[in-house]
Amino acid sequence: MAGAIIENMSTKKLVIVGVILLIFQVLSFLVGGLIAPSPTTAVHYLATKCVDARKQQHQRSKWFMPWGPNQCDKIRDFDEAMVKMIEANDIVFAVHIPLPNKEMSPWFQFMLVILQFDIAFKVVNQIEEGAVATIDVGLAYRDDTVSEWTEMAHSIEQRKLSCNFTTSKTYENEGRYYECDLLPFMEVGSVAHKYYLLNIRLPVNERKRINVGIGEIKDIRLVGIHQNGGFTKVWFAMKTFLTPSILIIMVWYWRRITLMTRPPVLLEKVIFALGISMTFINIPVEWFSVGFNWTWMLLFGDIRQGIFYAMLLSFWIIFCGEHLMDQTERNRFAVYWKQVGPIVFGSFCLFIFDMCERGVQLTNPFYSIWASDVGTELAMAFIIVAGICACLYFLFLCFMVFQVFRNISGKRSSLPAMSKARRLHYEGLIFRFKFLMLVTLACAAMTVIFFIISQVNEGHWHWGDYTVQVNSAFFTGIYGMWNLYVFAIMFLYAPSHKRYGDEQSNGDLGVNSGEDIQLTTTITHVDGPTEIYKMTGKEAQE
């Protein structure tokens, strides 16, 4: 055979395939933009200030409800507490998630909560330098509106307050609020229950200096973020549709490879591995999260995504390397350790970081690696190492692409002097390489462009009566794009069906001198070169 489909397919067919892929690409953007709602929703909650009257009555439930039946004794503000002689230790901030008349659903996938304090400025009671708030927090759930609350987690957390006061600190400006940073508060990897209740206390202990010098807290505000049910449904549907298509092409591809008499070369193996990792991320195991309470789903999703990206990056390196038409020995994985090493190491760092944060959150949803100084440094270290690895990777990749191009132009100048068959072979390689590099660059550019658009844009565009969800279109579009990319690579790099002799083990990419003769013989057998060959051949002659 004369190589892969990309070399042997006629231009017409190639264009048809390209157009079909493009249609699917547009479709995947439209699905996100027009059908799906925005990926996530933020819901505000203002903590209700309950008074813990348990000292008087022992029989009451230990959970405080902010509204509805059995609601707690509320106070509107702390001036009222002052009058009623209520102490800070008797105040419980209660937040019910979600707001009344709504219920949470497993379709929300995850729930993360952000905490913000409203701290009023007072000349005599200012926030001290490096103040730390100690938060005693409990999380409970129930599945109907009447039953008792069941405790899910309880923890005592510390959060560093970083607040600044923008106006001058004078008596005139008393009562204005500090501007405080958002604090990470809670992260739950599955939303299996209908109602959640948070009870937050800020216990004061003057002897141990707990919660002293944190200013005058007026309110606690929470922002709950969860994935939208509509987005989840569209996302699952997309995954369910994509899984079989990638799976089928993968099976087809591997069958083609095994049909060949020679063992598969490295590039073919790597492409197959890419297909496997794509399928791994595609398989919609998330469907189970609707029925089962699997909190590790979020972590699992992260890992799958990480594996795919690591695979993709390794693929690019090996792809470039195999196209380096130098005489050094290729076609062995060991050659690429130097390049693949940083990828694996960087991914591993991110994995460790993810395990430290989301892994611990499996047992304690209030844990945040950013809350403690050591944790922050560690997290920063991981991210910096991953960042350095990414930089190294791109340097490597750029270097390799540069080398490939230099080699190609070098080869190109000697092309006219070569025999026709050899020239055609090189032209074919050049074409393939350039084609794939262009597609890859386009994919990467699209990813970056849409990322920037979705970051800058407020999230939705109005287009007549339609609202286009930019963020959803970004997610479905990019996801669809990488799937189509993997699909295209597997399709185009599958050994061609057009066989011109059985025992040619086309050394496809490894251009060893031994194979060169074989190649020449292969191609001289070809009575009429394919369209691409003609085209590129003509180009070369000019």
Binding site: A42, H44, A81, G229, L350, I383
Partner: protein
């Protein structure tokens, strides 16, 4: 805030100065009306009836008991009974903020009684009236949005509030986040109802007042939503920013007050044109946007007490002897001079605080000089 004040009759002249005779006539009509129609929804701020418990047991008659509501507002009250408490609260925050912003001015936003709230001053379409309308509308947006976040309002959340039947489905599909939007729309519905249900002949003073009130209400509401800032949280893989969620966050109400005070200083004077629309008196300036305050009448003389304008005068107000600004004795007392007192002030000092509700202080007394306008 009640302060002792004298009574003089001279301020009527400032009205008589008015160039349009028609205006004077309408004022006279207003005087007659004022006795009957002086109350306003602001009175919700003063109303002791507004306790949350009163609304729980289908308190239908309550809405008719509430003084100061117009016909349309009463209907809204019956539909959204649980909102009334927060409207009252919003009005209260608005009034408090107004008093803070104007604490050093001759007109200090003092409330007069429980039904008309600000008294007769508000009948004049002055800058001060413009500010009052704007800040109270802003207060309602703030309070209703806040109540939303507290989960106190049953109908709040999804922005398409007209479809409560579909709400659970909407919630599951796309979430219901934005409560500022709800607060804005409810405030518009409720506060503007009073203005919207009246119809005046085009070109009359009343129609000008109506336009002015609507404009200033809108300016107040827009200031709240304008000052709300966007906060975002990144929560993608490994904390990357591939997944980002943003939300609007209400500003501290003091900032709303500051912004509106600035608008007050730059308020635009308007007049009716022949087609019954409000146009600028002075064309040299940029025309006011919907964020700016507008007024149609000059401010009355706030120096001396005047029953007909409703001005309370500055007699008996405290002033600052050393200040050169509006709170200085020279300007505050309008040149009438001041009395000096020595007052014993008991202050709390050397205090120990907790974040809430606990203060342990010593008492310190000190003698301060106080200056009171004659």
């Amino acid at each position: 805030m009640f302060l002792p004040h004298g009574f003089t009759c001279s301020a009527v002249t400032s009205i008589m100065d008015s160039r349009h005779f028609l205006l004077t006539v309408t004022f006279l009509v207003l005087f007659m009306q004022a006795v009957v129609d002086a109350s306003s929804w602001w009175s919700l701020a003063m109303n002791p009836l507004l306790i949350p418990e009163a609304y729980i047991i289908g308190a239908q008659p309550l809405c008719s008991q509430l003084a100061g509501l117009s016909q349309g507002q009463k209907k809204l009250c019956q539909l959204y009974q649980d909102h009334m408490q927060y409207i009252g609260e919003g009005a209260k925050t608005g009034i408090k903020e107004c008093q803070y912003q104007f604490r050093h001015r001759r007109w200090n936003c003092s409330t007069v009684d429980n039904s008309s709230v600000f008294g007769r001053v508000i009948q004049i379409g002055s800058r001060e009236t413009a500010f009052t309308y704007a800040i109270s509308a802003a207060g309602v947006v703030n309070a209703v949005s806040r109540a939303c976040r507290e989960g106190e309002l049953s109908s709040c959340g999804c922005s398409r509030a007209a479809r409560p039947k579909d709400l659970p489905r909407d919630w599951l599909w796309g979430g219901c986040g934005d409560n500022l939007n709800y607060g804005y729309r409810f405030s518009k519905e409720f506060v503007d109802a009073r203005e919207r249900e009246k119809t005046y002949q085009k070109g009359t003073y009343d129609s000008a007042r109506l336009l002015m009130n609507l404009h200033n209400n809108e300016a107040g509401r827009r200031t709240v939503s304008d000052l709300a800032h966007v906060s975002c949280k990144c929560h993608g893989v490994s904390g990357s920013c591939s997944l980002k969620t943003c939300w609007l966050q209400l500003a501290d109400f003091r900032k709303v007050g500051d912004a509106l005070k600035e608008k007050y200083d730059g308020a635009t004077s308007m007049k009716l044109n022949s087609r019954g629309k409000l146009v600028q008196v002075n064309n040299k300036f940029n025309s006011p946007t919907s964020y700016d305050l507008i007024y149609i009448d000059p401010s009355p003389d706030y120096c001396v007490r005047n029953e007909s304008t409703g001005s309370l005068g500055t007699m008996g107000r405290l002033c600052n002897k050393t200040s050169e600004g509006m709170d200085g004795c020279e300007l505050m007392c309008c040149g009438r001079g001041y009395d000096q007192y020595k007052a014993q002030v008991v202050e709390r000092c050397h205090c120990k605080f907790h974040w809430c509700c606990y203060v342990k202080c010593k008492r310190c007394t000190k003698t301060v000089d106080q200056f009171v306008c004659k």
